[in-house]
């Protein structure tokens, strides 16, 4: 006679001696007694395992050969969990729970099937197989998606690094540039577009593709230092509705002049259209006035009411769009960073036009070893442009004494070859303190020193307006000279090369 304790000890012993199993075949776990047909159906393709016992740490099963296995891991694939006898249902449910806890969640629900219900058995197996195929397909397509994302990311990175490498390899390129300027226009009526727009505020389609955009500057015509309102600016890409950036700007912090909204990083990826939306948070009875540009003949670019998607002005917002190399942030302090308030410690920036009386003093300087007798520099008072007709060979250099004001960070100009028959002309802007430095800077044999800047050569085809900027590495401490230079891309024929610099203006600090 074996006592209860002895029996328990014996069981433990037997258990200890039980072989630990690991099932790789698709497994059918069951209790009760299946018919021979069902056993034959399972065949060698499936492991047909009878559930004998369920404990916390293992599942005791017996295979068709009568061999017991102690499973501490769920089978890799579970085809079915079946009770062939209603009385065994509880055991099977417990086994189901046990397996569910140890699998990835794809465990089939336990089912009750009559021991001779071959059809029910088959349907159960097939359903599980279908679910398995489904899961595999989802997994596969998920991998394709990840692969596609990786491919696109790779292409994007390739382009970004190529841009950086080009910058590193080629002297004179600016890491940061103004891509577009729509200057403010004085309007006696000073319409306050924010006040007239609906709750959604105003929206403006930007004239520059998203790729490379690093900051947007808006012009405040009239500040409202006592306002409680907060302006919220949102930058979106239109074609895919992606939210790029948001800014919150207390109206009280906005001063008259240009206000720059800097992105956390330059926008990368495929080129998209940008829409800037500006709305007012809270009750803003006293709102700053956003300046408008000149009358806009292109309906798509007129300022719109965001909600109505209709023009609320015949103009666009006065704006500047900055682009930079990947990772580059605007060099100017005094910007609104995304999601942050303006740093009051920074000094403001202002865009200023180089005065007409300064421009009108432009004169030609001869710097080449063999100075040209060609007289190419004129200030055209009627058009407010400096005409700088290049010679057939060499450069025409116009000097504007004091053209680079104190505090200047950037000098920009619009460039135009104003005759359709002209061949391509290259333009350059140069700021330096001495004529002796000009040729070296132009040739790239000398590097800009503090207070000096060079725009690089900008190629301008006939009648196709271009834009050039030079940057100084720090605000100019003193006034310096500005040089406007032109040359023919293909020396020899300079007929009709009516090269013109216009809208010469500076971004200055202080």
């Amino acid at each position: 006679m074996i006592s209860t304790t002895a029996k328990r000890n014996q069981d433990v012993h037997i258990l200890d001696q039980m072989r630990r199993g690991y099932v790789k075949k698709p497994a059918i776990l069951y209790s009760g007694q299946p018919s021979n047909t069902i056993c034959a159906l399972a065949g060698d393709a499936y492991a047909l395992l009878k559930i004998k016992r369920v404990t916390d740490d293992h599942l005791l099963t017996r295979d068709m050969a009568g061999l017991d296995q102690r499973l501490t891991e769920a089978p890799i694939q579970i085809a079915a969990i079946i009770a062939f006898d209603q009385g065994e249902r509880e055991l099977v449910d417990r086994a189901g729970d046990w397996l569910h806890k140890r699998s990835s969640g794809a465990t089939p629900a336990p089912q009750l099937i009559a021991s001779d219900d071959v059809v029910g058995f088959s349907a159960s197996i097939l359903d599980t197989t279908r679910q398995l195929a489904q899961r595999n397909a989802e997994l596969t397509t998920s991998l394709f998606r990840q692969l596609a994302d990786a491919r696109q990311a790779n292409e994007d990175l390739q382009n970004r690094f190529a841009a950086l490498e080009a910058f590193i390899d080629r002297a004179g390129l600016q890491p940061f540039d103004v891509a577009f300027i729509n200057p403010p226009v004085e309007d006696e009526l000073e319409p306050n577009v924010l006040a007239t727009a609906g709750n959604g505020g105003i929206s403006q389609i930007l004239p520059v593709a998203s790729t490379g955009v690093s900051a947007i500057a808006l012009h405040i015509g009239k500040a409202t230092p006592r306002s409680d309102a907060i302006l919220r600016a949102t930058l979106q890409t239109v074609e895919d509705g992606r939210l790029i950036e948001t800014w919150s700007m207390p109206a009280a912090d906005l001063h008259a002049g240009w206000m720059t909204l800097a992105l956390r990083k330059t926008i990368a990826g495929l080129r998209r259209t940008l829409r800037l939306i500006i709305s007012v948070e809270g009750h803003g009875a006293d709102l700053p006035t956003l300046s408008l540009g000149n009358a806009q003949p292109l309906p798509l670019f007129r300022l719109q009411d965001t909600d109505l998607r209709q023009s609320i002005s015949s103009s666009s917002l006065a704006l500047q769009v900055y682009v930079g190399l990947p990772g580059v942030v605007p060099p100017t302090p005094g910007t609104f960073a995304a999601h942050s308030k303006r740093d009051r410690a920074e000094q403001g920036l202002r865009e200023m036009t180089v005065p007409q009386d300064v421009l009108s003093q432009a004169y030609q300087v001869s710097l080449d070893a063999e100075p040209s007798v060609f007289d190419g520099v004129r200030y055209l008072d009627s058009e407010r442009v400096v005409s700088c007709h290049p010679p057939a060979f060499g450069n025409t250099v116009a000097k504007i004494a004091g053209g680079c004001p104190v505090g200047a960070l950037r000098i920009s100009a619009n460039l135009l070859v104003a005759h359709e028959k002209a061949r391509d002309v290259e333009f350059a802007l140069l700021a330096c303190g001495s004529d002796d430095r000009v040729l070296g800077l132009l040739a790239g044999t000398a590097d800009p020193q503090p207070g000096e800047g060079f725009s690089g050569w900008v190629r301008v085809p006939a009648q196709q307006p271009r834009f050039a900027s030079l940057y100084l590495d720090a605000p100019a401490r003193e006034e310096s000279d500005l040089y406007l230079v032109t040359r023919m891309v293909e020396p020899g024929n300079h007929d009709f090369a009516w090269a013109r610099f216009s809208n010469i203006h500076a971004l200055a600090q202080g």
């Binding site: 279908r130 679910q131 195929a133 489904q134 595999n136 397909a137 989802e138 596969t140 397509t141 394709f144 998606r145 692969l147 596609a148 491919r151 696109q152 292409e155 382009n159 226009v185 930007l206 004239p207 520059v208 593709a209 239109v238 074609e239 895919d240 509705g241 495929l270 080129r271 259209t273 540009g293 000149n294 009358a295 806009q296 003949p297 292109l298 309906p299 798509l300 670019f301 015949s314 666009s316 009627s382 058009e383 619009n414 307006p465 809208n503």
Partner: protein, 924 residues
């Protein structure tokens, strides 16, 4: 074979799928083994994205993923069509997507090319999804942004007038961004490039109309063909500027291959869509989409935009025009104003319209505006003729009177707007304008009322318009491009040049098909004076015009025409106004100098432009124009020649237009002749009978039956007078045998016969220095009377005469004989040319059969003596002549030609017939 994925429990559907609807799928294979799929009620997609796949096994996943990522609140079915791709992984991946995603359908078919795959996908979608509203085509290597389908379907549904929406082109890989934002232009789509990417969304009604991709096109541009099918069926597309379509471009692609074989493919497309490429169609589109002229009404400043001023066209106010002008400066590919600006009072436009020269004036002005800064247009009254004259600086009458209209190119106008000074342009107020100005003077039977309404001058109109433009707020702007995508399309203001290139014509006559679609017949004349050739042309035009055909007159060697016809008989009068030769050329055929298309003097582009828009050309003896008629024939214009006479050289060699017609026989659909004799001649010279058509002449002008009866009664009452009245009408030259007539007149005088000879006509100068026939006849007491041109004058002259004398050495079938016979005037005429087809000897006239000049004179005098001596014979001949002519009408004689026209233009002829019935029905 179709392998749709099986259903799976709702709990296992991805979140994305839920937003796109749900479905349950069962599979049924029909007898054709084309598997049909039964969809339960849950999945009712409004849109299907068809993705054809062939050898893009891996990249297709990007297309499918982008389709799956759509953020739409409607169901989207994604149909991956495996076009028999040989790469097994295409099936693996396609099946995986269909299995994993409820909305994806993977179907596989034998390889048949891109068109076949797209069509398969379309038919699959239409069969399975009855609620489908549109189909989007996404190539397997391209992508769309998540908002694309939502936004584009909304846009498509918001514009019921459009049937498809196409994107801008944003290429990745080899990056490029092109703006396709211009308003959709069929003209551009046909003549420039395929402006609609295949990755477009197409409304279901296009497919319901039976339109599919052409499965024979396997080398590319099948999408271009598809859009042209849509255009043919009256559908139009539109660009959605924020589409979100990403086009993968690599260094080599099917598209690039297709560009290599573009010429051959285009040839196929042109042939297939011949009707679309016809000048009529293209000109109509130019008028509707990018009109060539902006006419600013002096006084009101309303701006009319048209190519054809007679067709219905848009009218806008000056402010709107200014908006468009500045938009076009900033982005000329997407915005446009007409390339030519015209300042004219509506009354003056109407005056030009009334006399039928409006199109020709615009045609000349356009050409001149490209050569000169400005074209000043002046109208002057002339009751006897219509003339268009160019006066250049330096001519004595240059700018003698104030212009009634101005034209310039929009480029010149822009230069004036940009100019800060008024000095240059303001000088147009003077007779010595600083701008290079040419004057175009139109003389015609204008009414004083038409010319007087000039309170506000066109000059002021031009300068005031300029002032308004200069004051515009836009002028202060930079006119810079705002759309960041590059402009790919040509400037809208240069679309007229696309038309020119497509037609090989410059400029193109600004005339489009009228609403009634009547066939348009152009009569080409060397000059438009009082000759028989032009009179026949006028008579034919009158009859055809009565029947509802639209007739146009082209005068190529002179820029004026005498008003011997009713202007209403022609829808338009057109002059080439160029130094155009009447004869000659560098090539030779059967003793004749001829011109070929490649010769400089042929003026192919200009003439093709002038003659643009005709269905039928009837060349009435303009020899050099044959050089360009072959080009018109290739474009489907029916070319007819109308030959009247076989001339003779001084040495007696047969020569003239019949020989020229032989040289160009292949270009003629039909050669019309005025005589059977000429038909025989052509046939004998090798022209098939089927190409020959005899159109007997009839009197050149109409006379009412009552008038004829009155004249004949008067003649009867008058009876035989003491003296016989004979008349000669025509040129006093050798061809008319004037020597013979003179000899006969001398004999009559010598014999003192009671015969009065009335000599009416004009002396021909430099007729071999034989001296003045006027003086010589005066010596016989016969005074030369000036030529008679009016119908009434001619009728009166014939009515007063007993006999018509015509002693010609050669003739065709002279109208004079017929016009004389009609009122009982007996012709006594030499039996030359086709005269015997008009005169039956001793029945309705007398034929002179002698050939020697003296013998002819003797025979003529004998014939006159016989009539003097046998007055009843004269009366009998007179009566019979009038009887014979009573039934000889153009309406009757033209019937074979009209039958041919109806065969060529059956539909249009039915329309004409219907109109005639309606307008002639009782009660109207």
């Amino acid at each position: 074979m179709i392998l749709p994925g099986p259903a799976f429990p709702t709990s296992m559907r991805s979140r994305r799928d839920k937003t796109m609807g749900t479905r349950k799928v069962g599979r049924v294979v029909n007898a054709d083994n084309a598997l049909a799929t039964k969809i339960d009620d849950g999945f009712r997609p409004r849109l299907a994205i068809v993705i054809p796949v062939y050898k893009h096994s891996v990249l297709m996943s990007e297309a499918v993923e982008s389709a799956l990522a759509q953020q739409a609140d409607f169901g989207i079915a994604i149909i991956v069509v495996d076009d028999g791709c040989p790469f097994p992984e295409t099936e693996t991946i396609g099946s995986a997507y269909a299995t994993a995603h409820d909305s994806v359908f993977y179907v596989r078919k034998p390889n048949g090319g891109l068109s076949s795959a797209r069509n398969y996908g379309v038919d699959f979608a239409l069969d399975l999804f009855p609620a489908l509203e549109a189909v989007y085509f996404l190539d397997a290597d391209n992508r769309i942004t998540p908002t694309a389908m939502r936004d584009v379907l909304a846009y498509l549904n918001s514009r019921p007038e459009i049937a498809w929406v196409y994107p801008n082109i944003d290429k990745f890989g080899i990056g490029w961004n092109g703006s396709y934002q211009a308003p959709y232009s069929r003209l551009l789509h046909l003549t420039f490039d395929n402006i609609c990417e295949a990755g477009s969304m197409v409304a279901r009604r296009v497919f319901d109309a039976g339109i599919r991709f052409d499965e024979t096109m396997k080398a590319g541009f099948e999408d271009w063909d598809f859009w042209l099918q849509c255009v043919s069926s009256g559908f139009e597309g539109a660009n959605y500027p924020f589409f979100g379509f990403d086009y993968r471009q690599r260094a080599e692609s099917m598209l690039r291959d297709s560009h290599r074989t573009k010429a051959a493919i285009m040839s196929y497309i042109r042939e297939k869509h011949k009707k679309l490429f016809q000048p009529d169609t293209l000109a109509q589109w130019e008028h509707e989409e990018s009109p060539r002229y902006a006419a600013i009404a002096t006084g009101t400043y309303a701006v009319s935009l048209f190519t054809d001023p007679n067709a219905q066209h848009a009218k806008i106010d000056l402010e709107t025009y200014i908006d468009r002008y500045w938009a076009a400066l900033a982005e000329p590919d997407a915005h446009g104003t007409p390339p030519f600006m015209l300042w004219i009072a509506p009354a003056h436009l109407q005056a030009l319209r009334k006399i039928g020269v409006i199109h020709n004036v615009l045609w000349h002005a356009e050409r001149l505006a490209e050569k000169h800064h400005l074209v000043a247009i002046r109208l002057e009254h002339d009751s006897g003729r219509i003339e268009i004259r160019r006066i250049e600086a330096g001519a004595p009458d240059y700018m003698a009177k104030k212009p009634l209209a101005w034209m310039c190119s929009v480029d010149l106008f822009k230069a004036c707007v940009d100019d800060i000074s008024d000095e240059w342009i303001g000088s147009i107020r003077s007779r010595r304008p600083s701008p290079d100005t040419v004057e175009l003077v139109i003389r015609g039977p204008f009414k004083a009322f038409d010319l007087d309404r000039t309170v506000l001058s066109a000059t002021n109109g031009l300068l005031s318009t300029l002032g308004v433009f200069r004051d515009s707020a836009y002028r202060r702007g930079a006119n810079q491009r705002w759309t960041w995508r590059g402009g790919y399309f040509p400037a809208i203001r240069s679309h007229h040049k696309l038309l020119r290139e497509a037609l090989g014509a410059s400029p193109v006559t600004p005339r489009i098909v009228s609403k009634d679609q009547a066939p348009r017949i152009g009569f080409l004349l060397p000059i438009a004076s009082f000759g028989g050739v032009e009179k026949v042309a006028y008579a034919m035009a009158r009859e055809l015009s009565r029947l509802g055909y639209e007739t146009h007159l082209y005068v190529l060697a002179k820029s004026s025409c005498e008003m011997v016809f009713d202007p209403a008989d022609f829808a338009s009068l057109n002059f080439l106004m160029d130094d155009y030769p009447l004869w000659g050329g560098a090539h030779h055929f059967a003793g004749h100098d001829i011109m070929m298309a490649q010769d400089e003097g042929a003026r192919v582009e200009r003439l093709t432009g002038l003659l643009a828009g005709l269905d039928v050309v009837i060349n009435c003896q303009v020899a050099p124009v044959n050089a360009i008629l072959g080009e018109l024939r290739r474009r489907g214009v029916k070319i007819l020649d109308h030959v009247h006479v076989l001339d003779r050289t001084r040495s007696g060699r047969t020569a003239g237009h019949p020989y020229v017609a032989l040289a160009y026989e292949h270009i003629y659909d039909v050669i019309l002749t005025c005589s059977k004799q000429m038909v025989d001649w052509f046939h004998g010279m090798g022209v098939p009978n089927a190409k020959l058509m005899h159109i007997p002449n009839a009197p050149s002008f109409d006379l009412r039956e009552a008038e004829v009866r009155t004249i004949l009664r008067q003649r009867q009452r008058r009876g035989i007078q003491d003296r016989l009245q004979a008349i000669f009408l025509g040129r006093l030259d050798s061809q008319k045998g004037i020597e013979r007539l003179y000899a006969a007149a001398s004999l009559i005088k010598r014999r003192q016969l009671p015969i009065d000879i009335r000599l009416v006509g004009a002396e021909v100068l430099n007729e071999q220095g034989r001296g003045s026939w006027t003086e010589r006849f005066a010596g016989l007491g016969i005074k030369l009377e000036p030529a008679i041109y009016s119908a009434k004058g001619l009728t009166d002259a014939f009515a007063e005469a007993d006999a018509l004398l015509l002693t010609s050495r050669w003739e065709g079938a002279p109208l004079t004989i017929l016009e004389a016979q009609r009122v009982g005037c007996v012709p006594i005429v030499t039996d030359v040319g086709a005269v015997s087809e008009l005169v039956e000897h001793d029945v309705n006239g007398l034929l002179l059969r002698a050939e020697d000049d003296n013998d002819v004179a003797l025979e003529l005098v004998a014939a006159l003596e016989r009539l003097l001596s046998e007055p009843h014979h004269l009366n009998r001949l007179s009566t019979k002549a009038a009887e014979d002519l009573a039934s000889r009408t153009w309406a009757e004689n033209l019937s074979p030609l009209i039958d041919r026209l109806e065969a060529w233009f059956p539909f249009r002829s039915e329309e004409i017939e219907l109109r005639r019935t309606v307008t002639s029905s009782p009660g109207r």
